[in-house]
């Protein structure tokens, strides 16, 4: 999330809203956001419904795998990145530029 925090201005210039999403509970996310200066919403998918819908829920461990989705203004998915590279913002930024 630090990468997104540090690159938020670039996403704003591309008129893209960054949303973090995690299966962690709201209070944990609040503490994390405050301690790390997170400047965009962190959503709590505590019921794991969205994680399952997006196909990123790790059933065995009960948490969502690292993944990034870029959704265009029409609500259509234009970019998906799953795994370690999803930590980086480069792929998402490029997708926002297209």
């Amino acid at each position: 999330m630090h990468n997104y925090r540090d690159s938020l201005q670039q996403f704003r210039e591309l008129d893209a809203q960054v949303l973090g999403i995690s299966v962690d509970a709201g209070p944990s996310l609040k503490v994390f956001a405050e301690q790390n200066g997170v400047n965009f919403p962190l959503l709590s998918d505590f019921q794991r419904v969205a994680s399952a819908q997006y196909g990123v829920l790790n059933q065995e461990r009960g948490f969502a795998n690292r993944a990034t989705f870029v959704i265009d203004r029409e609500g259509k998915i234009k970019h998906i990145e799953v795994g370690r590279t999803a930590i980086e913002v480069a792929g998402a930024l490029n997708a926002c530029r297209k």
Binding site: L14, S44, Y54, I71, R73, I77, E81, C96
Partner: protein, 76 residues
Amino acid sequence: MARRALAAGVLCLLTAGCTFAQNPQVPADQTSTLKVGDMAPDFELPDHNGNMIKLSDFRGKQSVVLAFFVLAFTGG
């Protein structure tokens, strides 16, 4: 001989690492339920300040970068 055993060991580790990192059945630009071009499933969830955020509220206004992460394993 030792070198060959070492190479085999490294290969095993690499294979195990890749298998752990990602399901080889699903390409890196897809998930088990979604692919590029699909409509993003809508949801409404609370953010860390308790505000309800509905994905479809951004439709027609802004694109959205949805970043799934795990707090406990967040290093970056």
